[in-house]
């Protein structure tokens, strides 16, 4: 699906079928949402500092020690459990639509999952073709018409319930005791791994999804500094829906001050990499593939607010996700 063109970004909030401000528009028309819920569109944008993320573009000053040159290589993430936070700290869930079957699984909480693909349509990320999977705006409905919203919250990644389903074959999981298929455990929408896993958002070795795949190439060595977030320390049979992971590695993000009418969600790879010397690999694969013994993950996990041995998940870092003006 090619729904969102970069040009639409400029509009920031796209109020599908309503065209008013989000605070006044309630839905009477095109079906599905709960009555009274407002149609919302939440745009995401990958940036490197103040510059837009582009595949193949070189950015200076990335990382520790004065920084190094780095080239945009990948910027994708799953999100779920999208909700708004009111001034009096209540959470209002966003029910994602299923308008965009390949990118969104409809629902709220852990049922509502979107695959956001921020690799721009220039050359460099996927080779010869402009990226047909570009998808930057999450759409849904939320009861926010009469609310004062102070923040947006969402979790990065695929929720545990769906993390170990059969992404390749679309087989349901089978309950070990009854031998019956587990309802809802068949991969749908963004959870169907494209090209049997060549798509890169499924971690076949670990039988789980890649929650986020953020990559910068380091021209000096031609290595790719990988950030592949996935759940670790897992046990149990995936085929029986019994697999659980001690380290979910799904950051829960709050985008403070987010205002639907004027903001986009900025994901800043420069902030994310600000604690790493990207020319050095401190263990495991180049960069961080979520292993809790790979020291390259420590500063990255800190900046995502994730626990890591020896790290400080509550540390004070420039935010990776923030609200910026859509311009």
């Amino acid at each position: 699906m090619r729904i969102v063109l970069p040009a639409l970004l400029g509009l920031g909030v796209v109020l599908t079928g309503c065209g008013g401000s989000s605070s006044s528009s309630s839905d009477n028309g095109s079906g599905g949402g709960q009555p009274g819920a407002t149609q919302v569109s939440i745009p995401f944008r990958a940036m490197v500092g103040n510059e837009p993320f582009e595949c193949g573009r070189t950015y200076a000053g990335i990382g520790l020690n004065g920084g190094n040159n780095a080239v945009g290589n990948d910027a994708r993430l799953f999100i779920h459990n999208v909700r708004f936070v009111t001034n009096d700290d209540r959470e209002i869930p966003v029910t994602l639509d299923d308008q965009v079957a390949d990118h969104q699984k409809a629902g709220a909480g852990e049922e509502g999952i979107a695959l956001i693909d921020l690799r721009d349509k220039s050359l460099g990320c996927t080779g010869e073709d402009a990226n047909p999977d570009y998808y930057d705006t999450v759409t849904g409905r939320a009861d926010i018409a009469d609310e004062n919203i102070r923040a947006l919250r969402f979790s990065v990644g695929v929720p545990e319930k769906y993390n170990h389903i059969d992404a390749q074959g679309g087989q349901p999981q089978i309950d070990a005791d009854s031998g019956e298929p587990i309802p809802g455990s068949e991969a749908t929408g963004p959870l169907i791994a494209s090209g049997m896993g060549a798509g890169g958002m499924h971690w076949s070795w670990a039988m789980g999804y890649v929650h986020a795949r953020l990559e910068m190439q380091v021209p000096a060595s031609s290595n790719v500094f990988y950030i592949h977030l996935g759940s670790t320390a897992c046990e149990g049979e995936a085929v029986n829906g019994e697999r659980t992971c001690a380290n979910g590695n799904r950051p829960d993000v709050e985008v403070d001050g987010f205002d639907l009418r004027q903001h986009v969600v900025r994901m800043d790879l420069a902030s994310l990499l600000s604690g790493n010397d990207i020319t050095v690999n401190q263990g495991g694969p180049f960069g961080c593939m979520s292993s809790d013994v790979d020291l390259d993950c420590l500063p990255i996990f800190e900046r995502l607010g994730l626990p890591f041995p020896g790290g400080d998940p509550d540390g004070d870092f420039a935010p990776v996700f923030s609200a910026v003006d859509a311009d």
Binding site: Q168, G200, W205, A233
Partner: protein, 399 residues
Amino acid sequence: MIPTRLFLPALCLLLAACGGGSSTRVDDQNASASDFNWNMPGWVPLPMEPANNRITEEKFQLGRHLFYDTDLSGNGTISCESCHQQDKAFTDGRVRPVGATGEVHPRNAQSIANAAWLRTLTWGNPALTEIEQQIVVPLFGIDPVEHGINEANQDMVLARLQEKPEYQSLFAAAYPEQDDPLFGELAWQNIVRSLSSFVRGITSFRSDFDRYNAGEVGALSASAKRGMNLFNSERLECFHCHEGYTLTASVRDRRITPTVPAPFNNTGLYNIDGISGYPAPNTGKYELSGNPADMGRFRPQSLRNVALTAPYNHDGSTATLRDVIRNYAAGGRNITTPPHVGDGRMNVNKDPFIVSFTISEAEIDDVVAFLESLTDHELIDDPRYSNPWLEVTVQDTAP
């Protein structure tokens, strides 16, 4: 029917015969009836197969062509065969293999014969319980890169296959229910499932040991018989982990649903820094579970055809069968030179069955003779498993 005389008591050839609730016997429906040519003696119970990928001869033959096709890689340089060669019982003779882009795999290439009976695939991964799940790892994996197929080149790779006349009929025959199995949306799924069918269909039960078990008492030499008794003795303890008709405790078939977790053992190969470490990333079951008790635990290998699959162990770090036996006799491996210094004999996770024992050189000869008797000499040049593209070439150049 399974002749009872096959089962030496000490071998516990049937899991169920080992007693003690390690498995549940289920109804034997279809355990030995199949239209597919499994190419094995009738006493071998049929392996499990997933409901969505029942084996057929047509899928097997398509998978065989794909297995030997270097076009099924990102840069057209390697095939499954590059690391799984028939003359070496589908291993590659190297300590550690190299993928399409030159990356060295951290582990030794495994034999894929009889993979259909394994409870988990690969050396130390407990999550891969189906061949279908395992095969996407070499095709699409990036750590390490093996076939090097990725999002950017997958259409090109597929296009190379779509151009070949052979695949038009092979895909159509394998997936008659699909409109366009080679060009349609399911093409990659079809590739993975037929490769799985080929792997599942590679069986190996024609060794001297099998002939001996079938009643040909002369099939084993005197030395191999002594070795077999040593192997099954409470002194060497080998049979606890390398048990049954597949010579590994990691086994399942259509008669038996195991109720205990799939086996993984630490055999005391490493003890880095004296804190029981194994060199990363080869930490075994621990790599995914993160549980310190799983450090260094690997799946017990099938020992069938083991004489053809040197070098040994998960990282190819043991050169010969004699060395493997010496490690066991020492109760583990004491490494005194860098980089992995440490006394594996003292590894806290070491399995209680890895006990040191005294063994003479002559007895080592006997155990090796027994392990050699597990070689299926027909496997390595069985035309059923050989490179089908070579047959075509020969025909083409014939006058």
